[in-house]
């Protein structure tokens, strides 16, 4: 993977566009089950299941026919197979709470697969996948794909507490090793995923992470410091999920070494861990392309 980078000395090449365009369809919920603090939903969506690649997500219309919530909710794809797309939903605000309340037989409007998949390393490259909370679900398919191309896979799944862990079993069945951490020590090692990640990073050639922003930053920085390429799947607030609204941007270093506000739905959600300017998320750094036109000047 090293050496695939651009002119800037970055460790990663930007994730490539997905091969298949997204589709929009009404899908039936064909299964639901609680998974610790989360709800796993299985949706009959053959076109999406057939083309989705790990790292991609779907976007759901929420609230039913009289809904006053217009914006789609983006949810990572946790698995595909037999024409079925699996997602894991954490009930958070009104939209995700509504999603988590869907019952078998209900139907929902879904768009997908969206976003860019995780780039694959050279066959056989040992890989570390790091998931935080429900973020671990999105890594199961990736781990399988890595194994299929000969990569030994080590997985770390972390959460605040045991009930917020996710997909530990599934990761266990594909990864060579699964390390579990919880902030409160209620399962696995007490502490953050970054601790085992720091220990394991020397042995791998690529790192993948999905979870809260703070975790992505820690893992990304760790990898970059160790000279290991990393890819993180970010979770920015999205209005459309398809690339037309420009609400979901964050500062990302491009192939030409210049930083731009990149759409996390269309240029992401997978970005090189060394390309996301984590410290500047939510800010407008003066060296961003076009910051000058906003009246921001170099200090």
């Amino acid at each position: 993977m090293k050496g695939q980078n651009g002119h800037s000395g970055a460790l990663t090449a930007p994730a490539a566009k997905a091969e298949h365009p997204p589709v929009q369809r009404v899908a039936e919920v064909v299964g639901r089950r609680p998974v610790n603090a989360y709800t796993e939903l299985r949706l009959a969506a053959p076109e999406i299941a057939a083309t989705a690649v790990p790292g991609q997500f779907v976007a759901f219309a929420v609230g039913g026919p009289l809904s006053g919530s217009l914006l789609r909710r983006s949810i990572a794809i946790a698995g595909t197979g037999d024409g079925v797309v699996t997602v894991v939903v954490a009930a958070h605000g009104p939209g995700s709470t509504w999603l988590a309340g869907l019952q078998t037989g209900d139907v929902i409007d879904v768009v997908g697969p969206l976003g860019r998949p995780f780039p694959m390393p050279a066959p056989g490259t040992p890989a570390l996948v790091v998931g935080g909370g429900y973020g671990a679900a999105a890594l199961v398919g990736l781990a399988e794909r890595l194994r299929a191309t000969g990569s030994p896979v080590t997985a770390i799944a972390g959460a605040a507490s045991a009930d917020r862990l996710c997909s530990v079993e599934e990761l266990g069945s594909v990864a060579d090793e699964v390390v579990v951490t919880t902030d409160d020590g209620s399962a696995g090692r007490r502490g953050w995923v970054s601790e085992p990640a720091a220990e394991l990073i020397a042995d791998v050639g690529v790192v993948y992470a999905c979870g809260p922003m703070g975790m992505l930053r820690a893992v990304g920085e760790l990898a970059t410091a160790a000279g290991v390429p990393s890819y993180v799947a970010v979770e920015e607030s999205m209005a459309c999920g398809i690339g037309v609204c420009m609400t979901c941007v964050l500062p990302v270093i491009g192939e030409d070494g210049r930083s731009r506000f990149a759409r996390s739905c269309a240029e992401g959600p997978v970005f090189g861990g060394d390309r996301v300017r984590f410290a500047d998320v939510g800010k407008l750094p003066y060296d961003l392309v076009g910051a000058d036109a906003m009246g921001v000047v170099a200090p």
Binding site: P21, L70, S237, V244, C245, M246, R260, L288, G290
Partner: protein, 316 residues
């Protein structure tokens, strides 16, 4: 967009330029069209109204850039975009190659900016006309928004009309945040606008109950979506009643063909679908079909016959 068995002639025009469908995208709600390709036949819709472009590339504002609101949303993107050079080099050729019509939205903070943009767009293939986004702060008038002052607004429109390709109709995009929208409409029409786009977003604010501060870094943002539809319809109604000869591109909360029908009946000869695209990326084609079916069901032979119909006495 699959053809539907309907005899209704859906043809209309932007200024004097004919278009086969009255349904267009709304500026800033479909970027430059590309991302809608999987969902909509872009050549079949009226036009792609491009995200407002300024002279220079702009990063736009820092996030958060939006907040969901009841039946709507608040946004403060800050006109992120490639600037006129990027537009001319990348986006317009992409659209033109595919035979997609574009109505190019231009924005600036000085009258001369607008004029220069109009000038640069002369004769560009695929461009059918200009939409002038005057809901921008006027740097020469303590940041007052052009669209809120009939004089400033007409200065911009006069300059654009003078600089623009004579073949390009110039539509002035009005803000609803004024005491008297008819006076602004009249001023810009007198200044040479060939049509009016209405409405732009309403100025709104949302406070985050957790941080206890405005959600948006720019404090206020633009409110859009079905929530504002009654306000948009009222603006279209008032302006069509006062200036029945001026073509109107209606927008604000259109989600279905029946919503679009309301705008047509109120006086719009074409409509833009904005925020609804975020909810339903297939919205443009669907709205076209639903509008055609609704017109047909009501016995209209053509879209044109329905324009402004709600102003006519019931027995007419």
């Amino acid at each position: 967009m699959t053809a539907v068995e309907t005899a209704v002639d859906m043809g209309t025009a932007i200024g004097s330029v004919p278009i086969p469908s009255p349904v267009l995208t709304a500026s800033g709600c479909s970027a430059f069209g590309r991302e809608l390709e999987p969902f909509v036949d872009l050549t079949a819709i009226g036009a792609v109204v491009t995200k407002s472009v300024q002279l220079r590339p702009r990063s736009g504002r820092p996030t958060p850039r939006m907040a969901e609101t009841p039946s709507g949303m608040l946004n403060s993107i800050g006109l992120q975009g490639p600037g006129i050079d990027g537009l001319l080099a990348e986006e317009l050729p992409w659209l033109a190659e595919r035979g997609v019509r574009s109505l190019v939205s231009i924005a600036g903070t000085r009258v001369e900016d607008f004029a220069e943009l109009a000038e640069r767009l002369r004769g560009v293939p695929g461009v059918l006309g200009l939409e002038v986004n005057i809901s921008c702060p006027n740097v020469e008038s303590r940041g007052e928004v052009f669209a809120c002052d009939p004089v400033a607004a007409s200065d911009v429109i006069a300059a654009v009309r003078a600089a623009a390709d004579p073949a390009h109709p110039v539509y002035a995009k009005l803000s609803p945040d004024v005491t008297d929208i008819v006076s602004v409409a009249r001023a810009v029409t007198d200044a040479g606008a060939d049509g009016l786009s209405m409405i732009n977003t309403l100025l709104g604010l949302v406070i985050d109950p957790d941080t206890m501060r405005p959600v948006l870094g720019g404090i206020t943002g633009g409110l859009s979506g079905p929530a504002i539809r009654p306000v948009a319809l009222r603006c279209v109604w008032q302006v069509h009643a006062a200036l029945p000869q001026v073509p109107i591109l209606g927008m604000g909360g259109i989600r279905t063909g029946l919503d679009a029908l309301q705008f047509v009946l109120a006086g719009a000869s074409a409509v833009s679908v904005g925020t609804a695209v975020f909810n339903d990326p297939s919205a443009l084609g669907r709205v076209h079909e639903e509008l055609a079916a609704a017109l047909s069901a009501r016995g209209f032979a053509s879209l044109q016959d329905a324009v402004g119909h709600a102003h006519r006495p019931v027995d007419a």
